[in-house]
């Protein structure tokens, strides 16, 4: 008798192990094929375009392609003094070509991003260029405008030579690469983006805290009340949740306006005088109030679903063991709700950090967030690469929180309604 186990065969004579593996593999492929259409759709219409944003934010071939001769001539120029005649000649030829193709406007826009003042001198050059004579372009160009004799402008052109640039990312942090290639900060009065980033974080943080402070008691009440009352109260949470964001923002615009109901109430209780009604809209206050109310359901629902599972007998046990209700709450109930707190806070923070509509409508100048800046550059200045760069910076932040959320809560545990 040998002790070795005999291989189990299926009816087809194939070893069971092999057959099982084959079946498992088939099941795997089947499951994957079901997910494949959506995954493919999302990759094409969503994930891939986000990747394209990354490309767009660093892509700088536009200027490189517009001034090929200039950059070739500039290779030998060390950038210390004014470039030699060859560079001026190459620039003249490149620019003449662009003027003929009528695409010189784009160059002006691009170079103006790099250094202010390019637009006007390029326009002037375009007008004067028609009368240029053959040879000695350096002098002729420098005569057009005194800025053409300023080496800084030529250095600015040279900075646009590489195919890729991370200057947009620096710009989003109010920094720039100066003439010697060192990264330095822009002057104090022009640091707009840093203020926006900090304000976005600040508002998202405090909105999360406010939501938590307001959601905790009502989630507790909803979870402990008898069904028939809690279902009714749940509607108060769910109705705003299902109502259009614009409708809710509109209602805050009515409430918070200077002749609005909230101000009427303040005057009526004598908090403020009739003459100096406070501005509560088109500033940070408006953003805070409206965003807190709009995001509150996203905090209540995860807290509620966790609190619902906590047995009331735990609190009773805590009290019967000698704890006061406060001690029982703090030592028994509160620690059990931490998963819900984590889920709710992360969700609200993620949503708040990318908020656009509400700040744009009630935020005014002092209550807008980084999203509004992105939209501004997408729609008004048309500096899409800068918008992409800021978008990706925001996205990175959100993805880090999303990753934490996924580790702590798990995306499949997101509860809706």
């Amino acid at each position: 008798m040998s002790s070795e186990t005999k291989q189990i065969l299926t009816t087809d004579g194939i070893p069971l192990e092999v057959s099982l593996k084959k079946a498992e593999k088939k099941n795997k492929i089947k499951a994957f094929l079901l997910v494949a259409p959506l995954l493919l759709f999302l990759i094409i219409t969503y994930i891939f375009p986000i990747g394209e944003m990354l490309f767009r934010s660093v892509d700088d071939r536009m200027v490189t392609n517009m001034l090929p001769k200039t950059f070739q001539a500039m290779e030998k120029w060390d950038g210390k003094e004014l470039p030699p005649e060859e560079v001026f000649e190459a620039f003249y030829l490149d620019y003449k070509f662009l003027v003929e193709k009528k695409t010189f406007g784009k160059l002006a826009t691009q170079l103006n991003y790099e250094k202010n003042g390019f637009k006007s001198i390029l326009k002037k050059l375009q007008r004067k260029m028609k009368k240029f004579e053959q040879g000695n372009y350096k002098e002729q160009i420098m005569n057009v405008h005194k800025r053409w004799a300023n080496v800084e402008y030529w250095r600015a052109i040279k900075r646009r030579a590489p195919d890729i640039t991370y200057s947009k990312y620096l710009k989003a942090m109010d920094m720039y690469e100066n003439e010697d290639g060192k990264i330095s900060q822009v002057s104090e009065d022009r640091r707009v983006h840093r203020i926006l980033w900090l304000r976005t974080l600040e508002i998202a943080f405090f909105v999360t805290i406010l939501c938590f402070l307001m959601a905790y008691p009502i989630a507790h009440l909803l979870a402990t009340l008898p069904m028939k009352y809690s279902n009714l109260l749940m509607i108060c949470v769910l109705l705003p949740f299902w109502t259009s964001l614009l409708v809710r923002t509109a209602s805050w615009m009515i409430l918070l306006q200077q002749q609005g109901i909230v101000n009427d109430f303040f005057v009526w209780i004598g908090l403020v005088g009739e003459e100096n009604r406070p501005e509560m809209m088109y500033n940070k206050t408006g953003t805070y109030v409206a965003m807190t109310q709009i995001l509150l359901p996203f905090m209540v629902l995860p807290l509620y679903s966790v609190m619902k599972t906590i047995s009331p007998s735990l609190m009773r046990a805590g009290k019967s063991l000698g704890g006061t209700p406060f001690v029982a709450f703090w030592k028994v109930y509160f620690p059990l709700t931490i998963p819900g707190i984590g889920a709710g806070c992360l969700l609200v923070f993620i949503l708040a950090i990318g908020y656009y509509i509400t700040p744009a409508l009630v935020g005014g100048a002092s209550g807008t967030l980084i999203s509004n800046q992105i939209a501004f550059h997408m729609k008004s200045t048309l500096d899409w690469s800068f918008a992409s760069a800021m978008g990706l910076m925001l996205l990175t932040g959100v993805l880090v929180i999303y990753w934490i959320y996924n580790k702590l809560v798990g995306v499949d545990n997101i509860k809706l309604g």
Partner: protein, 284 residues
């Protein structure tokens, strides 16, 4: 939550304070919505309660803004409503089909790389809308679909599927797979099994996911702002324009209609959720 008789006074006071706080928060949540109702019937052009309204004078109320909404000159709401419904309907159908099929695959215990794939499928819900808007705009512009219904519908499918995936996988988590095996053993092919056995059982989840997708598309404004041309204007776009330029009572009339619509959707969603929980044997 009646307090027991032996409760000490300070806890009694604390309890009433707690109830007071809760009342305030509920008021904060729901009251803003109710401001819109009376003001949409305002006879005057201002968005404040007139003295007549405060005295409940019938002359201070009128249907003037509702008439303006429907019959007003150069009225954008008709086209916007039509577009909104067309876009939301097709986006919902697309989201439900893609999302349900994907959820079936994701709920299979054989699914490889489940975590990362799930995270990817849910990402449009997490990524800030402004970023989704920029990315989708770049894609649609390249594909020549900017300022078309198709482009907006595709964008809304992207935004709507996460909701369907979440609700349907949640429904499937309590699904008894032995019933599908029973169907197969009785000779049913997979498609037939799905249509006759699985779908009817998970239908509440599918419909409530569909409702989420519908509302997402119907309310969506950020992505549409990037994509829409003049012919593709939707209700949210018109509201956005109106709110930015001047807050007219006509917008409040529209808002009232939207609140009524969302109430109907909420009731449907709640009924479905309860039914689904009853079917799955989870009762609260």
């Amino acid at each position: 939550m009646a307090l027991p008789k032996y409760t000490e006074t300070r806890y009694r006071i604390w309890h009433y304070f707690y109830l007071f706080i809760c009342t305030c928060v509920f008021f904060f949540l729901i009251a803003p919505l109710f401001v819109i109702f009376p003001l949409s019937f305002n006879a005057e052009e201002f968005l404040v309660f007139s003295d007549g309204m405060k005295r409940l004078d019938p002359d201070a109320f009128s249907l003037r803004w509702y008439k303006d909404m429907i019959y007003g000159t150069k009225n954008p709401w008709g086209l916007a409503t039509k577009n909104s419904f067309i876009i939301a309907t097709f986006a919902t159908i697309g989201s439900v089909i893609l999302g349900t099929v994907a959820a079936l695959g994701l709920s299979s215990r054989h699914m490889p790389y489940k975590g990362i794939i799930m995270a990817t499928l849910i990402s449009p819900m997490i990524v800030p809308l402004i970023i989704s808007g920029v990315a989708i705009f770049f894609f649609m512009a390249k594909a020549g679909l900017a300022a078309t219904h198709t482009g907006i519908i595709l964008a809304h499918i992207v935004l709507g599927t996460p909701f369907v995936v979440i609700t349907v996988t949640a429904t499937l988590s309590g699904f008894d797979h032995s019933v599908t095996r029973a169907a197969s053993s009785l000779g049913s092919d997979p498609v037939n099994t799905f249509m006759k056995i699985t779908l009817p059982l998970i239908l509440p989840g599918v419909i409530s996911g569909g409702l989420f997708a519908f509302v997402t598309s119907f309310d969506e404004v950020v992505v549409v702002l990037f994509l829409a041309g003049l012919d593709n204007t939707t209700i949210p776009i018109q509201m956005w324009t109106g709110l930015r330029e001047q807050l007219s009572p006509t917008i409040l009339a529209v808002a009232t209609c939207l609140i009524v619509l969302s109430t109907l959707i909420l009731v449907t969603a709640e009924l479905l959720r309860r039914r689904s929980e009853r079917i799955r044997g989870i009762s609260r």
